[in-house]
């Protein structure tokens, strides 16, 4: 049967099991939208800005373990997706973005709404395609989904010229993928695994340093088994939070620039550092030459280029985190038994002492709301079960520090690219994937204004997302740097000229709530959680609160500012 390009695309989405897409129509995708109107099993969410479509697909992918899909038009529609794509690329999130393109005959002629989006997104996609022949469409889409979700996941973009959407062919659908050069290594080299385990078993002061790879490969169970059997304390990156239960005694908290004293000291003193699905980002390592100076390093990652990129490691292991941890656990079972709690006691005592000496804390105030208190209350009142998204800046770090993530895939945050405006549209995608769950965007008053137009999308689609704005009328993180490193010269970070967020929420048809005093925090959160509509909570918090501890950029991890 002959189908046109738009029909082939819908069939392909169906074959990939896609039920939800996020998008925005335009001249160059009008044929796809026409077909979409006849495709009832795919629900389309009409965003109000294309950037939000990509973040929503990203949030959806993280919360559902599926591939997220966004659909936009050519030119400005396509360029508006770039931030979202770059963020998904840095965080290794599987999404497929479809962009319309001018007809093939016009490509290169500076046609209306033409842009070389394949060229623009080449460095921030895992792969991208310009489909010039409708006969290649089905195979290309199947390949794109395969590439997006396999190996180290990432965004894939498909550029579809308008005439390709209209051209007809008898498509050959296939479940086969043959890419001669693409073959991710899942099963780790057993000899390397054995060497690593021997080194770990010898260690006196081992530390597990885990990253987003744990979450993406769903390795939490294997990690838990490995860590608890050998009694190894665990820290993780921002992206790895929830990969190991945040309320477990072996959990030390996040490491890095705003990590806990305990985690940073433990890494600095460790003799064997086991990095799993992490990539030694500069926000984690601080001054590279003084990072984990006493440690032999084992690094497990599915992406060979992540290994020895920033820090030269002693035992590199290329493999899927879940698979490799399983190999380690299996090998561990045949090793002679040992009383690990007894063997590890001295090291764990030291670690616990660090935790006692400098826990994450803040100074309580009777009159002014502390932002950390808001997060603590959110944790308490959702029993740690909510899906949390964050914006970027202080709100993101406080969320990471004070919400104890107990499960994987519960924190969605733009960790690598650090996109202000990510959290709210991502929350939208999360709510679509998890319709019955509490989904809360922890926001700042700066970040929320970067994609606030999506309030109408959540209202229209009855997505009861809750937004908690930690409103300090500053671009707080930059202000914090200005306070500490630039002698309080608050250049262009004071944003007290702001909309009334409660009225704004109401104008969009959402619920607006405000708390200005500490005792109002709990009632506001309770009311929000009891509302089945989207809610904006405006928490007026201490204006000059800083995120602490802090390792100044370029300093070693043990050179933390504590307060």
């Amino acid at each position: 049967m002959k189908l046109n390009g738009a029909q082939i695309m819908m069939k392909c989405l169906e074959r990939e099991g896609i039920k939800h897409i996020f998008g925005y129509p335009g001249g160059a995708v009008i044929d796809i939208y026409d077909e979409l109107s006849r495709t009832p099993h795919i629900k389309h969410f009409l965003v109000r800005h294309e950037q939000a479509a990509v973040h929503a697909a990203d949030g959806y992918a993280r919360a559902s373990s599926k591939v997220g899909v966004a659909l936009v038009t050519s030119g400005p529609g396509a360029t508006n997706t770039v931030t979202g794509i770059a963020s998904a690329y840095m965080d290794s999130i599987p999404i497929v973005v479809f962009t319309g393109q001018v007809p093939t005959a016009l490509i290169g002629n500076d046609a209306f709404q033409e842009v070389d989006i394949v060229g623009i997104t080449r460095p921030c996609t895992k792969h991208n395609y310009l489909v010039k022949d409708v006969k290649e469409l089905a195979q290309t889409i199947h390949e794109a989904f395969y590439i997006a979700r396999s190996g180290r996941p990432g965004p894939v973009l498909i550029d579809l010229p308008k005439d390709v959407q209209q051209a007809t062919t008898t498509p050959k659908f296939t479940d086969m993928v043959k890419i001669k050069s693409y073959n991710p290594t899942y099963h780790a080299n057993p000899r390397q695994v054995a060497r690593a385990l021997d080194m770990i078993l010898q260690a006196k002061k081992p530390v597990l340093y885990t990253g987003g790879g744990i979450v993406l490969s769903d390795s939490s169970e294997e990690l838990y088994k490995f860590a608890t059997t050998l009694q190894i304390p665990v820290t993780s990156t921002l992206m790895g939070l929830g990969g190991f239960p945040g309320d477990h005694p072996l959990w030390m908290g996040m490491l890095g620039m705003h990590g806990t004293y305990c985690a940073n000291m433990a890494v600095s003193q460790s003799d064997v550092l086991i990095a799993v699905g992490a990539r030694f980002d500069d926000r984690v390592t601080g001054k590279l030459s003084e990072f984990a100076p006493h440690a032999k390093i084992v690094h497990i990652d599915i992406d060979p280029s992540s290994i020895s990129k920033n820090v030269v490691v002693d035992i590199p292991i290329v493999g899927d985190c879940n698979e490799t941890l399983r190999q380690l656990n299996e090998l561990l079972e045949v090793k002679p038994a040992r009383d690990w709690p007894e063997f590890r006691q001295a090291w764990l005592d030291t670690v616990n002492q660090w935790e006692k000496d400098h826990p994450l804390t803040y100074v309580w105030d009777d009159k002014v709301i502390k932002p950390q208190f808001v997060i603590e209350k959110l944790y308490e009142l959702t029993k740690g079960e909510a899906f949390i998204t964050t914006e970027v800046g202080q709100n993101q770090m406080w969320a990471a520090q004070f919400y104890q993530f107990k499960y994987p895939r519960r924190l969605m945050t733009s960790g690598g690219l650090g996109v202000m405006g990510y959290g709210f549209p991502a929350a939208m995608g999360v709510q679509v994937a998890q319709p019955d769950a509490y989904v809360i965007d922890i926001a700042g008053d700066g970040s929320i204004q970067m994609n606030i137009q999506e309030l109408i999308t959540v209202v229209e689609n009855n997505l009861p997302v809750k937004i908690a704005i930690l409103n300090n009328s500053y671009l707080g993180m930059v202000r914090q740097w200005q306070q500490i490193f630039y002698e309080r010269r608050y250049s262009h970070t004071d944003i007290h000229a702001a909309p009334d967020f409660v009225k704004l929420a109401e104008a969009y048809g959402a619920v607006g709530l405000r708390a200005t005093r500490p005792e109002e925090v709990e009632p506001v959160i309770k009311e929000a959680l009891n509302t089945t509509r989207p809610v904006v909570m405006d928490f007026r918090v201490e204006r000059e609160e800083c995120v602490m501890p802090m390792v100044p950029a370029g300093k070693a991890m043990h050179e933390m500012l504590l307060a």
Binding site: R122, S305, V312
Partner: protein, 166 residues
């Protein structure tokens, strides 16, 4: 302090012969701040595959990154650091040298010693074709510089692995 001399690496990259692949490769180098000293591309015997030869400079860690990052690109079939293998390198240079009456013999002598071919002659210039490895090319050009080089066109380095000896 002496400027650090980074080792040269000759890297062969086999890629799908489709539009945009070269820009993926060069974009990777510029985006990540890797050097390209020279670059050659052409089809192989298999018309679906092109071979890119890149000469790059950088320490071991950088070269390792270059190779790993190249391998990550979907359209890249195979990457080999020929510098680590027994291999042959050649580059061809066309160079137009000033050759006035008194220096004509000297230019021809240099050409002869290095087995260059004269491919064009005018009243006061010779154009030479030189083929050789990096060191030879540098040696010839250094000598010809004294005579006055008007223009140079270079192919960049090509390289191939030597066949294994019994």
């Amino acid at each position: 302090m002496e400027p650090k001399i980074e080792p040269r690496h000759t890297i062969s990259v086999w890629v799908d012969n489709i539009p945009g692949v070269l820009s993926r490769v060069t974009g990777l180098f510029s985006g990540r701040g890797f050097n390209i000293e020279s670059l050659c591309v052409a089809e192989t015997m298999d018309t679906e595959v092109s071979r890119i030869t890149i000469v790059s400079t950088g320490d071991e860690q950088i070269t390792e990154q270059i190779i790993k990052q190249l391998r990550k690109l979907i359209n890249i079939i195979k990457v080999a650091d020929l510098s680590e293998l027994d291999h042959v390198e050649r580059e061809m240079v066309l160079v137009r040298v000033k050759a006035e009456d008194k220096s004509r013999a000297e230019v021809l002598r240099i050409a002869d010693i290095f087995r260059c071919r004269v491919v064009d002659v005018s009243a006061n210039t010779f154009t030479l074709e030189i083929t050789g490895n990096h060191e030879k090319i540098r040696a010839v050009l250094d000598l010809l510089k004294n005579q006055g080089i008007q223009e140079v066109a270079r192919t960049g380095t090509l390289a191939i692995q030597r066949s294994k000896k019994e």
